[in-house]
């Protein structure tokens, strides 16, 4: 079984004080911690579990600069066999479609039975790359996968719908699946584990290696253009309860009595 996983390194913003940088087109990333995209950590774990069960190889791909090696190494430490980084100045500014094109060209060059991506990236959240990639490769796909089972030349999957409902479907292989969080429990990688793979080669491929023309990728090959980013208007926003914790507790108690019927 040849398994391919597409991964992205993203800044961790949930706990951070986010501000806009000078270009007005991105957030200020200095001082932010980066990690493997949450959805991708579930995708790589799922691929490694399949390999452990059925044999085969796991290849991880990432489009990005040298920083992305860190996330690729994490995947190697988790148990992936090979890592490839797709990188070229011409890739800068690629939207979801252009990224799918780059990934498709890299994947065409290697054998594959099953390709896993995350449902979405935490940063720009297109939720687009996986299904677009499948169409470019001319193979079936299913998104939001919460369970999968590989059978002879087929894969049976559970797709998450709204409100806790799931849909079960089966697909012929090869196929692309976009993985939803919670499908498994991604294994922990220790510093020792990362050290063990520190010397492992990470192949890089550029636009010409992938036979991609400059106008097919990057800004030129993208259908959408980012004009600006800004902090969302807070609207009316919440009334902030101030004071010492004990004083705030009194206010919360009043609200609970008044609005929640607390006796």
């Amino acid at each position: 079984m040849n398994l391919i996983v597409c991964i992205k390194r993203v800044p961790e913003t949930a706990d951070a004080d986010v501000s806009i940088d000078k270009s007005g087109k991105d957030i200020d990333k200095s001082g932010l911690a980066f990690d493997l995209n949450e959805w991708d950590s579930y995708a790589i774990e799922e691929a490694i579990r399949l390999k452990e069960k059925m044999g085969g190889t796991v290849t991880v791909l990432s489009i990005g600069g040298e920083d992305s090696n860190e996330s690729l190494r994490k995947c190697l430490a988790m148990g992936a066999d090979e890592a490839m980084r797709l990188t070229d100045p011409a890739f800068d500014g690629s939207d979801g479609l252009a990224r799918a094109k780059i990934l498709a060209e890299a994947i065409r060059k290697i054998p594959y039975d099953l390709i896993l991506t995350g449902t979405q990236a935490e940063d720009d959240g297109y939720g687009q790359v996986g299904a677009a990639l499948a169409e470019l490769l001319g193979i079936p796909h299913a998104t939001l996968i919460t369970r999968l089972e590989v059978q002879e030349k087929k894969v049976k999957v559970h797709r998450e719908l709204e409100g806790g409902l799931e849909e079960v479907c089966e697909m012929d292989l090869p196929a692309v699946l976009t993985i939803q969080t919670g499908i498994n429990e991604p294994r922990y990688v220790s510093i020792m584990g990362i050290r063990k793979v520190a010397k492992k080669e990470i192949k890089t491929l550029n636009a010409s290696d992938l036979s991609l023309k400059a106008e097919e990728v990057g800004f030129a090959g993208s259908d959408i253009r980012l004009e600006k980013v800004y902090l969302p208007p807070t609207g009316e926003g919440a009334e902030i309860l101030e004071g010492k914790p004990e004083e705030i507790a009194v206010k919360v108690f009043e609200i609970l009595k008044d609005k929640g019927g607390l006796a």
Partner: protein, 326 residues
């Protein structure tokens, strides 16, 4: 005349809210450009849904086929490719939902149509679109435009566009032939699996105390549970808490969990991603506790407490317990 085509979303014979939201937005856009609204309805035995749509569209394209009984990315792609090539809509609107996320990106590639996903704002001036999206889980907004010429495809976030009351359009239902054949599909629907009914029903509670990833570890959950008990509330949570198996799925609030409308909803260590907010914005009063003053949850909360939950929650518990005794 320019046409805006909305792809209707329905499941188990019920129209999904996002369809009405898209039609409402389409109406506003169409009025601004003297355009027409078409809606594509794919399915089987859904004539009554087609009738319902007439009030909101000039043309309801009904594609009836037993093979369309349930949604499938492949059948949808075949049917919509034919319809879109024939109708040449200026703009195609699809929900950014479990269904739309599944077929829009591949359909757009197939038709070589520029696609902007998960939009919360669509503005049109002349022929130029300005779209609003969110980045970083809703902490940042972005304005994006198309760098290619149309026709365009946009997927819209559920709940982003309000349904406006307007006069009925009384459009016509037009039956469109289905291009599907019995030729094999590479993806086949097998069955639905309904949500398991758990021990507690969080939708019935008057007071919900909901905990998010800010709680850091499973071992810290009891602290929130004790607070919930102290105020007669029921414990709920955001998705990562379920993904990590710290609490069962039946406690999850949000698009892929439950929709709740308690009198008071207390969100603790929850950032306020739209998938979460969609499940709790109908709550009477919302109190949010978060250490990040810019957390999106504060824009939906009635009251905000900017604090470290590990310091705040134990004090709330003790103090309210004490006051209730009096």
């Amino acid at each position: 005349m320019k046409e805006i085509l909305v792809i209707a979303e329905h499941r188990r014979k019920e129209m999904r809210d996002v369809t009405w939201e898209m039609l409402s937005k389409a109406r506003q856009l169409a009025e601004g450009m003297d355009g027409k609204i078409g809606v594509a309805l794919l399915g089987h035995g859904i004539n009554s849904l087609a009738e319902d749509l007439r009030s909101k569209a000039h043309q309801v394209f009904l594609i009836e086929d037993p093979r369309l009984e349930v949604y499938n990315a492949e059948t949808y792609q075949r049917v919509l490719t034919q319809l879109i090539i024939e109708r040449k809509p200026f703009l195609t609107l699809i929900g950014h939902t479990a269904m739309g996320m599944d077929f829009a990106p591949s359909l757009a590639v197939h038709l070589k149509m520029p696609l902007a996903t998960d939009c919360i704002g669509i503005d049109l001036s002349g022929e130029t679109f300005s779209l609003t999206r969110q980045l970083y889980g809703g902490k940042v907004n972005a304005t994006v435009s198309f760098s290619k010429n149309g026709p365009y495809m946009v997927t819209v976030r559920s709940g982003a566009f309000p349904v406006m009351e307007k006069d009925s359009i009384s459009g016509e239902v037009i039956s469109y032939p289905s291009p599907l054949s019995d030729e094999g599909l590479a993806r086949r629907f097998l069955q639905y699996v309904d949500a398991v009914i758990g021990e507690v029903d969080i939708t019935q509670a008057d007071i919900l105390v909901s905990v998010g990833r800010g709680i850091k570890e499973a071992d810290n959950i009891p602290m929130v549970k004790e607070f919930a008990d102290a105020i007669g509330g029921v414990l709920a949570c955001s998705r990562p808490v379920v993904d990590k198996k710290w609490l069962p799925k039946e406690r999850q609030v949000g698009t892929s969990g439950k929709t709740v409308k308690p009198k008071v909803y207390i969100a603790i260590g929850i950032s306020g991603a739209f998938q979460h907010v969609a499940g709790m914005k109908g709550s009477g009063t919302v109190i949010a506790i978060n250490k990040d003053p810019k957390a999106p949850i504060f824009s939906v909360a009635t009251y905000g407490i900017v604090a470290d939950l590990f310091k705040m929650v134990p004090v709330l518990k003790e103090k309210i317990k004490e006051m209730r005794k009096k």
